[in-house]
């Protein structure tokens, strides 16, 4: 008779699923987070892919992890340290043990703790038996054999049965955290529609896991996390890469320009190419080019032909495209270059995150080659910044670099879906008037006319050589070169009057302003909240436009005794702020290929304020 289990209410929980690449931890984690989102919690996820695709089973470098932080209040990061680890094999514990909260729960699939797997995980003795897991709440669960028992009589092979054990674990976690199973049940129906025997097997495994939680004496408490109070509206869970893709699609619709993506497969940006290649019915053209340079140059061709042209890549790709970005800015064509930053330098750490391409984006070209640089702050913010980058590129006839990073790209969060008609139109006006046309005529924003080849009477030539203003004819004239250099720089500076001012959360003056950019927004926000809770007066500001900086930036910074800039690099925004405004700044630089821990920033805030309340 199942004993009545005590239900404990929690404000927030951080869960991590970990197992072999083949164990389907990414699938389990994303199902758990979709269900959690449906139940109204605020959440943030962080997949931790191994570098290999399929490393040999049981090895530590083959461990794939998925971390989910969910809460009844507003949260912004996937959580510093997991409260609970679901470990499908010894290697999963070996890899993740050092990051768990002290006293964290560990649900371990006891079946896989045999000699071979322990050896592969480089354990001399079984951690479940020797006292090495002292201080953790360890729950050994025979997930493998329980799944096999639940699927007796199925037509699946033993190997296929073993592959269902992740649904058992999912079911168990649904019970433990009082989540409904039906969302996953309907998902299984759709996903395995073509293979009914899998539908049955996975559903049974899921329910077996759930019922096991119910009946076993192993667990005596159950947990519940109330829904968060989110603004009214319809939500879905979305990752940064998907939001980026949808943002450009929206920009294409709102500007009535067909979208062209010239790209080349590179981790962690390939998903954007993959998402967009599905939307042929939006007239989207995705060209997987022969290399990164062909990716951007085909996009430049498309921009010249009158399209919303973008190219997506990561650090090494941006390096290869340097010369072509110079061509785009010299020919003053609208193109958006998306850089999903990853651990560098060079090939670096492809599956890890970092923010170390900022100086390359702002300064990294031969000659005076100014380009607008924007940065998204959260996974769903990628949607807005994709639209903003398109708007600025078109309006000012200039290349725009949009920076995101591996953490935003793969992490997901609930997204309040904007209605199509709420999104502002992007005005585009192709020049057709022959009278007085010249390729480098300037309008109020110093933008030159955009002419679609095929327009009779406006035939003209553009190129990488310096050219005379207005006429666009090749010119070596010294004065003209000076004029064009200043004009191209001024055009980017003019955007200052067209972008929002820097907003401050907290007082406009005080002891400390925590200034960040890009993907550190979540960690800084939570750290500031925690510091305030501890009695410190802390203000926060976050930059989404780095070239040009918002026009009130200096004014805001001058209001504070200390400006603290946390960055996942050796101080690149700090360098820009110092050279622009000659203001001393405090730096927090951690370059570990991982997002900031909230505690790192919180401690630094306190340290800067001398630990005084």
């Amino acid at each position: 008779m199942p004993k009545e289990k005590e239900v404990q209410n929690l404000s927030e929980v951080t869960v991590r699923f970990a197992g072999d690449s083949g164990d389907g931890m990414q699938l389990t984690g994303s199902q758990f987070s979709d269900t959690t989102a449906l139940m109204g919690n605020d959440l943030s996820t962080l997949p931790d892919y191994p570098a290999e695709i399929r490393a040999p089973i049981g090895t530590v470098y083959g461990v794939s992890g998925f971390q989910l932080h969910f809460s009844s209040s507003d949260i912004h990061t996937p959580g510093d340290r997991p409260d609970i680890l679901v470990a499908m094999n010894p290697a999963a514990i070996k890899k993740n043990i050092s990051e768990l909260k002290p006293g964290a729960m560990i649900i371990a699939n006891i079946d896989s703790f045999d000699r071979k797997n322990l050896q592969l995980a480089k354990y001399e003795t079984n951690p479940l038996e020797d006292s090495s897991l002292e201080g953790y709440e360890v729950y050994p669960v025979p997930i493998g054999s329980l799944t096999a028992k639940a699927l007796q009589g199925t037509s699946l092979s033993p190997k296929e049965v073993s592959r269902c054990k992740n649904f058992f674990a999912l079911g168990l976690m649904y019970w433990l955290f009082d989540r409904q199973v039906d969302q996953t049940v309907s998902w299984i129906q759709k996903k395995f529609a073509k293979k009914p025997e899998f539908i049955e097997a996975n559903t049974n495994a899921l329910l077996a896991g759930y019922n096991y939680g119910e009946n076993t004496e192993l667990f005596n408490t159950r947990y519940n996390v109330e829904p968060a109070k989110l603004p009214k509206g319809t939500y879905r869970s979305i990752s940064g890469n998907e939001a980026t893709a949808l943002g450009f699609l929206a920009a294409s619709v709102k500007s009535k320009l067909p979208l062209f993506l010239g790209s080349y497969p590179i981790t962690p940006a390939s998903e954007i190419l993959q998402y967009l290649s599905n939307y042929k019915n939006f007239g989207v053209k995705t060209l997987q080019a022969e290399d990164e340079i062909a990716g951007i140059t085909s996009a430049i061709g498309a921009a010249f032909a009158g399209n919303l042209a973008i190219t997506t890549t990561s650090g090494p790709g941006l390096a290869l495209k340097t010369e072509a970005i110079g061509l785009a800015l010299m020919t003053e064509l609208p193109i958006v270059i998306v850089d999903v930053q990853r651990g560098g330098p060079s090939t670096g750490l492809p599956t890890k995150t970092e923010q170390a391409d900022l100086l390359q984006a702002v300064y990294g070209r031969n000659g005076e080659a100014p380009v607008a640089v924007l940065a998204a702050s959260t996974p769903s913010d990628c949607f807005n910044m994709a639209i903003e980058a398109s708007r600025l590129a078109i309006k000012y006839m200039t290349p725009v670099i949009l920076l995101t990073d591996g953490y935003l790209a793969n992490g997901s969060e609930p997204w309040k879906i904007p209605h199509a008609n709420e999104l502002p139109d992007i005005p585009v006006k192709f020049r057709t008037e022959k009278e007085g046309f010249a390729p480098y005529l300037r309008d109020g924003n110093l933008s030159r006319p955009w002419v679609k080849p095929g327009t009779p009477g406006l035939e003209h030539r553009i190129g990488g050589l310096e050219k005379a203003n207005i006429s666009g004819a090749v010119s070596y004239d010294p004065e003209n070169h000076n004029l064009m250099i200043n004009l191209r720089a001024q055009k980017v500076k003019n955007m200052v009057n067209d972008i929002p001012d820097l907003t401050v959360d907290g007082d406009m003056e005080g002891d400390i302003l925590v200034l960040g950019w890009g993907g550190t927004y979540g960690a800084i926000k939570e750290a500031v909240i925690k510091a305030r809770e501890a009695g410190y007066n802390v203000s926060q500001a976050h930059l989404k436009y780095i070239n040009p900086l918002p026009k009130n930036t200096e004014y805001v910074l001058k209001g504070f005794k200390n400006v603290l800039i946390p960055e996942i690099n050796l101080g690149q925004l700090s360098k820009i702020i110092r050279s622009e405004f000659l203001i001393p700044v405090k730096q927090l630089n951690i370059v570990r290929g991982l997002p900031f821990r909230v505690s790192d920033i919180e401690n630094k805030i306190k340290e800067v304020l001398g630990g005084i309340a």
């Binding site: 319809t234 080019a289 022969e290 140059t297 430049i300 061709g301």
Partner: protein
């Protein structure tokens, strides 16, 4: 969804002249350069290639020949070194109504641009690539290029280059180009005819044009362009015709298995009907490959004309048809449906 091609206005065919295709820019090639003649033949043939002037886009890279777009009164991009075929692919894929032409030199196309060239051929993108082959680097003043003959003495190879050169036509055939031809800068009539054939071809059309650089490689092709040596050293390929050449048309080419041989028609060594009948539309690339290899052995004449032309669907057409097909299947893209998709929940 949005169709960005300008609507085909139905007014009658406007008659162009060469002048219409001449831009206001004064031409800055060195006096005596072969590029002048190629520009002239393009300007003379363009009027009757059946396209609208506003739909023509010339794309080039970096080098002397890449100044070409400035002198054509059409749309044009003077791109960066080696990237013309990639830029042109972007233009064509976007707006298949445009007639996209690439002007490029042997350094621009075969040195830095080699990868983009073989991929454009492989994909059969409907762009016309004119290779101005002068077998030298002109703009950077006289270094050897990937088509310069081995042992060539230049500024960067004062002791003679140690590089085996590319055979541009073999490379194009190796990358499965569907239209491969050669012509000469100093044979205006022939060059005009080949430009016309290329314009009519649906797919990547590659024309190698031997072009004289009179400053750094003067006279490299004299054998094939001077009146007295041309007849004995050039064989004009014509579809369905036997290969005959020579001052008094007394020499021919015979194909024994896979080896071509020059035979004398006058002394009865062979008769006209033993000769190799040129077949431009042969599906297998083998014979075109044999013709391309003529330049590798000196007792064979230089073949000019269309080596091979085969029908294959073009990349840009397939690309567009796929979009149209999916639009029919999935219906026009609806932003609302796009956004409000996947599992959602409402907060109220």
């Amino acid at each position: 969804m949005i169709d960005n091609q300008p609507k085909e206005n139905s007014q009658e065919k406007i008659k162009y002249t060469a002048k219409d295709f001449t831009s206001s820019q004064d031409v800055r090639w060195c006096p005596g350069c072969g590029d002048y003649s190629i520009l002239a033949q393009v300007q003379r043939t363009s009027p009757d290639l059946g396209f609208k002037k506003e739909n023509v886009v010339w794309v080039s890279g970096i080098g002397c020949s890449s100044r070409f777009p400035y002198y054509m009164d059409t749309y044009g991009i003077h791109g960066i070194h080696g990237r013309a075929p990639a830029i042109a692919t972007g233009v064509k894929v976007n707006n298949p109504n445009l007639d996209v032409w690439v002007a490029t030199g042997d350094g621009d196309l075969l040195s830095i641009g080699g990868n983009h060239f073989i991929h454009a051929c492989r994909r059969n993108v409907d762009i016309k690539i004119l290779l101005f082959n002068n077998k030298i680097y002109g703009l950077t003043k006289g270094q050897y290029s990937p088509t310069s003959e081995k042992g060539k003495k230049t500024k960067s190879t004062p002791f003679g280059s140690v590089d085996f050169p590319f055979n541009p036509l073999s490379l194009a055939l190796g990358a499965e180009a569907t239209f491969v031809a050669r012509s000469l800068d100093r044979d205006p009539k022939h060059l005009q005819a080949i430009i016309k054939r290329a314009s009519e071809h649906a797919g990547t059309a590659f024309i190698e044009i031997y072009q004289n650089c009179n400053i750094f490689n003067d006279g490299a092709f004299e054998l094939y362009t001077e009146k007295d040596t041309k007849p004995d050293n050039v064989v004009f390929l014509e579809h369905g015709k036997p290969m005959i050449f020579g001052k008094n048309q007394d020499k021919g080419i015979k194909l024994e298995g896979l080896n071509p041989k020059v035979v004398d028609l006058a002394n009865g060594e062979a008769s006209v009907n033993d000769l190799w009948i040129h077949d431009e539309f042969d599906e297998s690339p083998a014979r075109a490959f044999i013709l391309a290899q003529f330049t590798e052995n000196e007792n064979m004449p230089l073949p000019v004309g269309v080596f091979r032309q085969i029908k294959r669907s073009t990349y840009d057409k397939d690309f567009h048809e796929q979009i149209e097909r999916i639009k029919k299947v999935k219906g026009e893209g609806d932003l609302k449906k796009l956004l409000f998709a996947g599992n959602m929940w409402t907060v109220n």
